[in-house]
Every structure is written in structure tokens, then in C-alpha cells.
């Protein structure tokens, strides 16, 4: 019987060596890359996505209702709220291929709109809505920009923003999109409003008033990022201590210690992986790390539960055989639940974008690491910590 079992304890030195090497690679990449690629959550400051795009239309509204203008599926949508309830009017891009056509259609609608086309030839399909959209229309002109591309170089943006000191500029996508991500560091007295204004003023003087659109604006105060890190570490530590206590209570200290070691192994390997590939660290990364803790622990406990049971059943066998037999008995279950979880997360890793995609990728890596550690690392450490002797004082409660 024991011959068919996976020799997880026999190969323990090999598996621990492999883990050690991987951990060292992770640590090394952490130092080589000078820490993590910290997302906006962790680095205080203002982060904006700005697109340089000429103003095509200027819209004023003189009606009695409350009117807002938004962009939905690429079309311009005017929403009015008044005595007749909510009314929507769509000015489709397909029907109005240029800015001039749009202006004409909106003026012709006779709903209190006065639209002037600054550059009538611009392609309507490039119209963009920024931060602050849907815009509330009034007698003061609301400007609508068109992302027709251009040849402004990233260095020109950097030059424009030099007076702000600690500034990072990156292009988003192809440079001809003229979409830039700007990150400005913050000092104590800065607020979001002052920083936003400073950036916008610099853009206005370099590229012209209104000739750019802020698509996204995120601000993180210095205190927020600190709390996020400290509260996350605190949360992980508290969770680990509670888990340790529970496993100790239900099993034995040797089981508790080896499962915690396996946990730390998973967390550090995952962090090493994130640092190696320069993935952005955000609060969803914390979520992924914590899920892996729960996941890998789950797998480890299922195996340990078997070990405990088999210690009773296989009285004549050595502890090595018992552990190896238990791991093998749980193998189908381990594979099945890894496969189902990966199946659930895989489409997210392929199809989703941004933070969620990163989350899914981290998860898949974590599941692999967690499965490996609960089958190889945790049993090996259980064997070492217990000194190769059977440890079980508490009875399995269903017997």
C-alpha cells in the first residue's frame, strides 16, 4: 500500500531546497527592483489620466429645465429634468460624422441648446468625456473635446510640469493617443484641489486652455496610504495568530506550527512573484494574498485531518508512511478543488482588466503555490517538528 503513495516526505529535502531557491529569487528581485511597484493606494499623491485633445464643440443651454450632457456608447446624450419628467435625447455619432454635423443637429433640435463648432471637421467618433462628466449645462459654455491624436511627446509633458517637483509621467497605450498618466507627489499642505489646479494650469499654459481632458483623478492623502499598509499587516498578523490558536486547539502544536510555516512560505513566494514581474500592488493585492492564506490553509487542514485519522488507523506504520499515505488519499480532492478554483478564476485572468485581472493572476499563482506547499512543505515540516514521531493527543471527534 505504502509503495504507491507519493513520497512527499522522502523528497522533503528537495522540495524545501526548491522553495528556498524560489524565495531567494523573490527577495533578490525585491531588492533589484527597489521594492514593489506601488499602486496609488500605497503612494500618497495625485494620480491623473490626462488626454491632450482639441476642443471641438462649445455648448450652452438656455432652457428652463436642468440639463446634463453625457457620452454613452460614444454618442452624445442630453438629459433634461423638468415638469415633464426625465427626457433623453441622443445625438448619434453614426448620423453626425463630424463635429460640425453634431453642432448642426443639436442646434436644430430646438431645446434651448446653442452649440458652436470650434473645429467643424473633427471626427465625431473621437469625442471623449472626462472627469466631471456628465456635465451640468448652463449659460456658460461647456467644452467638448475630441481625441484626434497629435504629436505631443512625453518630454513636453514633463517639461510643462517641472515646477511641481516630484512628478512621474507615463504614456498610456500608443503615444499617438496622447493619453498620459501623471503622478504628483504630495506634501503635507497640498490638497486634491490645489494639486489638480496646479496640473491643469501647467497643461493649459503649455497646450492651450481647455485643449486637454482629465479622464480620471485619484488622490491619496499621506495618512491614508500609511494606514492602508499598517492595517493590512496588522490584519494578516491577527488572522495568523487566531488560526494558529485554532489549529493548536483542534490538533497539536506541531500541526499548528507547520501549517503557519506553510502559510508564510505561500505569502512570501506570492510577494516574490509580484515583485519579480513588477505587478502593481494595490488593495486588491492584499485581498489576493489573504485569500491564498485561507485557501492554502484549507488544503493543509484537509491533509492534516487525514494524518490525524490515519495515526489511529495505521498503528503499525511509521509516521513517514502515515503522512505519505494521507497526502495520497487526499490527492484527488486536492487536485479537484485546485482545478475548480482555477476554472473559476481563469476567465477573469484572461478577460478582465486592471486590478481584477491582476487579482486573478495573483490568485492562480497563489493556488499553485498553495497546493504545492500543502502537499510538500507542510507535511515535511510536520515530520521535522514532530521529530518523526507520531503526535496526536486529541481524538477525531466523529469517532
Amino acid at each position: 500500500m505504502a509503495k504507491k503513495d507519493l513520497p512527499v516526505i522522502k523528497v522533503r529535502k528537495i522540495s524545501v531546497t526548491i522553495s528556498a531557491i524560489l524565495l531567494i529569487i523573490g527577495f533578490a528581485s525585491f531588492f533589484v527592483n527597489k521594492g514593489f511597484n506601488k499602486g496609488i493606494d500605497f503612494e500618497s499623491g495625485l494620480s491623473e489620466k490626462i488626454q491632450v485633445a482639441p476642443v471641438g464643440l462649445e455648448v450652452t443651454y438656455n432652457g428652463d429645465d436642468d440639463a446634463t450632457l453625457s457620452v454613452s456608447n460614444g454618442d452624445l446624450v442630453l438629459e433634461t429634468r423638468g415638469t415633464n419628467g426625465v427626457q433623453e435625447q441622443t445625438f448619434a455619432v453614426a448620423d453626425n460624422p463630424t463635429a460640425g454635423d453634431l453642432a448642426q443637429a443639436m442646434n436644430a433640435a430646438d431645446i434651448g441648446l446653442t452649440v458652436t463648432a470650434d473645429e467643424a471637421s473633427l471626427d465625431s467618433s473621437t469625442l471623449i468625456s472626462g472627469y466631471g462628466f456628465p456635465a451640468t449645462l448652463s449659460e456658460n459654455a461647456t467644452q467638448i473635446n475630441f481625441a484626434v491624436g497629435g504629436d505631443i511627446k512625453i518630454d513636453q509633458i514633463r517639461d510643462a510640469l517641472t515646477d511641481l517637483g516630484n512628478v512621474q509621467v507615463q504614456t498610456v497605450g500608443d503615444e499617438s493617443n496622447q493619453l498620459f498618466s501623471v503622478r504628483v507627489g504630495t506634501s503635507e499642505e497640498d490638497t486634491q484641489a490645489t494639486l489638480e489646479k496646479a496640473v491643469s494650469d501647467d497643461f493649459a499654459s503649455a497646450f492651450g486652455e481647455g485643449q486637454f481632458v482629465v479622464l480620471e483623478s485619484n488622490f491619496v492623502g499621506p495618512r491614508f496610504s500609511q494606514t492602508l499598509i499598517s492595517s493590512s499587516i496588522y490584519a494578516v498578523l491577527v488572522a495568523m495568530v487566531l488560526i494558529l490558536l485554532y489549529v493548536w486547539f483542534r490538533f497539536h502544536i506541531a500541526y499548528a506550527l507547520s501549517s503557519i510555516i506553510a502559510l508564510c512560505h505561500d505569502v512570501f513566494l506570492l510577494l516574490g512573484f509580484i515583485s519579480l514581474f513588477r505587478f502593481e500592488v494595490s488593495s486588491t493585492t492584499i485581498a489576493a494574498v489573504l485569500t491564498i492564506i485561507g485557501y492554502s490553509l484549507n488544503a493543509t487542514i484537509v491533509i492534516f485531518d487525514r494524518v490525524r485519522e490515519n495515526t489511529e488507523l495505521m498503528k503499525g506504520s511509521s509516521f513517514q508512511d502515515i503522512i505519505q499515505h494521507s497526502v495520497s488519499q487526499s490527492l484527488t480532492r486536492t487536485i479537484m478543488s485546485s482545478v475548480t478554483t482555477v476554472l473559476a478564476v481563469l476567465p477573469l485572468a484572461i478577460l478582465a482588466t486592471g486590478n481584477i485581472q491582476l487579482f486573478a493572476i495573483n490568485m492562480i499563482f497563489g493556488i499553485c503555490v498553495g497546493t504545492y506547499s500543502s502537499n510538500f512543505i507542510a507535511p515535511s515540516f510536520l515530520y521535522w517538528i514532530s521529530g518523526g514521531k507520531k503526535v496526536i493527543e486529541k481524538k477525531n471527534e466523529d469517532k
Binding site: 429634468r81 492623502g221 491577527v238 488572522a239 485569500t291 485531518d305
Partner: protein
């Protein structure tokens, strides 16, 4: 436990889930888009709409009477019948056996009554939709765009103001008062269903979904509010009211402000006395002339409550002033006995009271209904933020940027779910179907819990959801693998199922309890997006325990364990 009792529990859970999910289902499937749009408007927009519609309907209704007074009442106006019936009874007249437009109209005392009835009808409809929308499972900001603002309590500024240090629990109390005030203020703005809640001990998280004008949001968050006590000039007040009533067009300037008459003596200002109407909007009752000199600033107010005067048993508002405020108030009240004093909030008179005697710190105002009293107490409490707030972080997701992410994310989640379902059936055949049923039930329970606890559905919590679904199959896998082992030892189907469930029980419990510990710690200590994830995970694990150990168990007991010779189909056998 008997099978029947277990079935009852399962049905009870199904019933509860239905109850919690009902508002959500109703909102997303039965409420017309038009009503949803209207309900998302500000109170002022809703009033404008209701008044406009009532005007139009009344005109149309009168038209109907003129064309044919014996015409049957169109279904659109059927709601007017109930009140007409009551009015007929009150007038001691016979209720008509068949409603016509004419006798329906005769059921109302005045045309104005019909107008208010129609207006009420529109208003109740929209406010009902508004209430409903508060109870549905909301999509988070990342899914529908919006703005998320984290505010910090400015502890040092507060300490400077009061002159001594305060403890963390005191800060939390003050921050909670701030939250109340912000919630109160929000009614004035057209932002739909904002979330305002305490985060940690001294932070406020404000989430404004959908389209929000950043500038308007800032005015509402940063507005400090003022509360003043000023003396009323009674003679000038009645004089101005008569003047303006005779000449309403003279009362306002072109931009809608109350006009200050040219012959008004220096040091006096005309303002309005406002009460809240059915829409919660301030409505002018009368004009009031105030002395410009500020009798007392509201910052000296320490607390305010309502109670009933023990002698007159009339409702009163009590408030307590700090010692500086008490001195000032004594000076004010002792020099103006028998005059009127106005409570002025943000330039609007909210209440007028007569000074009977000089008062120091403990003030009691009387002379209004219980509702007015509690309104005033709220005004006194909510005028100024007890502790100042600073913006700690602000994030806005444009709806356009969100759209793609949402559709990709949701698509991926659906595919993931389908893959898991398919995989289980392929591997475990009929038993796999039972697991899938449990999985589906699990999904329903999770959604029901999320909407019962008013959690918003963010992309991270959906990720938690799908992950939990993937993991929740695990409980069934553990059980099935055990059953297969038992079968491999040559046991009968019934015995294998019984043994499989009982042996797997503690394995599943131990494995899931440890994960629940992690999830609960996170939901208490994590930051907001992690919290959403952890909450979903915790709920998911608990409901998967229920579905695997209770629901699947019941199905197996009913089909296998209790039937002689029943054959279990659980996929490929172990050798």
C-alpha cells in the same frame, strides 16, 4: 433530525432569501426606467415634476368633464376614487354607485384638493421608488462609476478649538454626529443614494454612485453651515409682510433673493421664515426682519433634545450652552425680555420664540407641535459639523472607463461559473448535478445576504463571490471523495453515503472555520475594498457549509440512504 424538519429548515431559508431578494428583483425587472430616472433626481426636481404633471392632469381632467360629464373615469384617475368616497361620507352624502368624471370631481371640496390629490399621487409613487432603491442590492462605484471620498476628522483643529485633548472614543462620537449632518445635507443635492459611513474610528467614507458633479459634491462636503440666534424686530416684520403681500412682485430681486427695501433702517435685514414641505424642501412661510447683531453663535451649543413640558404637556426643545455661550445668552435675553428671538440657520429663519425671562445655559423653547420641535432639535444639532473634516483620498471613476471593465468582468465571471458547473457534472455525473444545485443555491443565499446587509456589489466582492463558488464546490468534493473511498471498500451505496458524510464532517468544519477566521479578521480590519471581499468570503463560506452539509445531505438521504437498493451515480470508481 427528521427529514421533514430538515426540509422545513431548507424551505425556510429559501423563503428568507426570496424575501431579501424581492426588492432587488422588483427594482431591476418591474420598475420602469422612467420611474428609476425620476427617483434618482433631487427633491427639487421631483417637486417640479410632480407639480408639472398635476397641472397637466388637472387640465386634462377638467377637459374630460367639459366634453362629457357622464363619461366613465379613465383608469389613470381611478386613484382619486378612494378619497372622493371618504369625502362623500364626510359630507353625509350617498357615495355614487357608478363613478363618472363629474361625480368624482364633486367628491372633492375644491379644485385645489383635486390638484393636491394628483400631486400626492405622483409624489408617493416616486418616493416609494426612492425607498425601494435604497433596499436593493446596489452596484458598487467600480461597476457604475462615481466618486469615493475618504474624510479624516481633524482632531488637532478640534483640540485647539476646545482647548483640551480628546480621546479616540470622543472623536468617534463626534464623527458619528458629522455623518448624521452630512446625511441630512445630502437631501438638498441631486446625488442618488450616496453611502456615508464610518470607517475605522475617525474617518468617513462617502461614496456617490453614478454621475456626480465633483464641484457640487465638494460644496456639500466642505460647507460648514452656520447657526445664529438673532433678535426679531416685530413691528418692522409685520410691516414688511403687509407690504410684500400687497405687492408680491416687489418681494424678490431678479436673481430670486429677498429684496431689502430702500427705507429699511441700518442694522436690520429682511430674511424669510422657512418650513420644510412634503418634499423636504424649504418653503417660505413669511418674511422676518432681524437685528444684524448676532445674539449668540451656534458653536456654543453643546446638546439639544426634545421633551414634553411637565405642566403644560406641550412639546419643547431643550438645549444646553457652554459657559461662554451662557454668559452671552444671558446678556441677550436679559436686555430683550418679551421680544422675539429667531433661530437662523444658513441665513434662513427656522424658528421664532418669545423670550419670557433671562436665561443662562439651559434653554427651553416651546410653542410648536411635536414634529416642529423635533425638526428644530435636528436643526440645532446639524447646523455646524462638530468636528472638521479634511479630504484624505478622493477617487472618481468615469462611467465610460467603468463600462468596459464591467462587461469584461461580468462575462468572465459567467464563464467561470459555467466551467465549474460543467466540470462537476462531467466528473461526478448525477452527483455532480447535486453539487451544482448546492452551488446555485449558495449563489442565491449569498446574494440575499448581501442585499439584506446592504452591501454594495463591487468588482472585488464579485471576485470574492466567484472564488467562494469555486471553493464551495470543495466541500462537496471532500464528501464525494470519501463516499468513493467507502464504495471502493465494497460498501453499499447507502452505507457509503452515510459514512462519507459523517467522516467528511469535521474535515470540512476545520478547513472552513480557519478560512472564516481569516475572512472575519479582514472584514473587521481591512480597508474598504478588502472589506467587501472579506464580507463576501465570510458569507460564502457559511452558506457553502449549509448547502453542502445540509442541503446536499438531505438530497442524498432522500434518494439513496433511505431507499433500499438505490444506486449512487458518482462518476468513475476508485480502484
Amino acid at each position: 433530525m427528521k427529514k421533514r424538519d430538515r426540509l422545513i429548515i431548507v424551505l425556510l431559508v429559501v423563503f428568507l432569501c426570496g424575501l431579501f431578494l424581492y426588492p432587488t428583483v422588483k427594482w431591476y425587472t418591474f420598475v420602469p426606467q422612467e420611474t428609476k430616472d425620476l427617483a434618482s433626481g433631487s427633491n427639487e426636481q421631483i417637486r417640479e415634476y410632480a407639480l408639472g404633471q398635476a397641472t397637466k392632469d388637472l387640465k386634462e381632467f377638467k377637459g374630460l368633464i367639459q366634453t362629457d360629464s357622464d363619461a366613465a373615469v379613465p383608469a389613470k384617475y381611478a386613484f382619486l376614487e378612494d378619497q372622493a368616497k371618504d369625502n362623500y361620507k364626510a359630507m353625509k352624502k350617498d357615495v355614487p354607485s357608478k363613478w363618472t368624471v363629474l361625480n368624482l370631481a364633486a367628491g372633492y371640496y375644491t379644485e385645489n384638493d383635486i390638484f393636491s390629490a394628483i400631486e400626492d399621487h405622483y409624489r408617493t409613487d416616486i418616493y416609494a421608488a426612492k425607498t425601494l432603491s435604497n433596499n436593493v442590492l446596489q452596484l458598487g462605484l467600480d461597476l457604475r462609476g462615481g466618486m469615493s471620498i475618504l474624510l479624516d476628522a481633524d482632531k488637532s483643529a478640534y483640540e485647539e478649538k476646545v482647548g483640551n485633548t480628546i480621546s479616540d472614543t470622543e472623536v468617534t462620537t463626534l464623527v458619528n454626529q458629522d455623518i448624521e449632518i452630512l446625511k441630512n445635507r445630502i437631501d438638498q443635492f441631486g446625488v442618488s443614494e450616496p453611502e456615508i459611513r464610518l470607517q475605522g474610528s475617525d474617518q468617513i467614507l462617502v461614496e456617490i454612485p453614478g454621475a456626480a458633479d465633483p464641484e457640487r459634491v465638494n460644496t456639500f462636503l466642505q460647507g460648514k453651515g452656520s447657526l445664529l440666534f438673532q433678535i426679531v424686530d416685530t413691528d418692522l416684520t409685520s410691516q414688511i409682510n403687509t407690504e410684500y403681500a400687497a405687492n408680491p412682485s416687489e418681494a424678490y430681486t431678479e436673481d430670486g433673493q429677498i429684496k431689502q427695501p430702500a427705507d429699511l433702517p441700518a442694522g436690520k435685514t429682511v430674511t424669510g421664515y422657512y418650513v420644510k414641505d412634503a418634499y423636504g424642501i424649504d418653503k417660505l412661510q413669511q418674511f422676518v426682519v432681524l437685528d444684524d447683531e448676532i445674539g449668540l453663535d451656534g458653536i456654543h451649543l453643546e446638546s439639544s433634545t426634545t421633551s414634553t413640558n411637565s405642566i403644560t404637556s406641550k412639546p419643547v426643545v431643550n438645549f444646553h450652552l457652554d459657559s461662554t455661550g451662557g454668559d452671552q445668552f444671558y446678556k441677550l435675553t436679559s436686555t430683550h425680555v418679551n421680544e422675539s428671538m429667531a433661530v437662523v440657520m444658513d441665513g434662513k429663519v427656522k424658528s421664532i420664540a418669545t423670550i419670557n425671562e433671562p436665561i443662562r445655559q439651559d434653554v427651553q423653547i416651546s410653542g410648536f407641535t411635536a414634529a416642529e420641535a423635533s425638526d428644530l432639535a435636528v436643526v440645532l444639532r446639524t447646523a455646524a459639523l462638530p468636528i472638521e473634516l479634511t479630504v484624505s483620498s478622493q477617487t472618481s471613476v468615469g462611467a465610460t472607463l467603468g463600462e468596459d471593465a464591467v462587461s469584461a468582468g461580468l462575462g468572465a465571471i459567467a464563464i467561470g461559473f459555467a466551467l465549474v458547473v460543467l466540470f462537476m457534472v462531467l466528473y461526478y455525473s448525477v452527483s455532480g448535478l447535486v453539487a451544482d444545485l448546492a452551488l446555485f443555491f449558495n449563489l442565491v443565499i449569498m446574494l440575499a445576504c448581501l442585499s439584506a446587509f446592504h452591501f454594495t456589489l463591487t468588482l472585488t466582492s464579485i471576485a470574492g463571490l466567484i472564488l467562494t463558488l469555486g471553493m464551495s464546490v470543495d466541500a462537496n468534493v471532500i464528501i464525494y471523495e470519501r463516499i468513493k473511498e467507502e464504495l471502493a471498500q465494497g460498501k453499499s451505496s447507502a452505507a457509503a453515503v452515510r459514512q462519507g458524510f459523517s467522516k467528511a464532517f469535521w474535515t470540512i468544519m476545520d478547513a472552513n472555520i480557519t478560512t472564516i477566521i481569516a475572512a472575519l479578521v479582514l472584514s473587521q480590519l481591512g480597508s474598504s475594498s478588502v472589506k467587501g471581499f472579506a464580507n463576501t468570503l465570510a458569507i460564502g463560506i457559511m452558506s457553502s457549509l449549509f448547502t453542502a452539509l445540509f442541503v446536499s445531505h438531505l438530497i442524498f438521504d432522500a434518494t439513496i440512504t433511505d431507499k433500499e437498493g438505490a444506486v449512487l451515480r458518482i462518476g468513475r470508481r476508485k480502484k
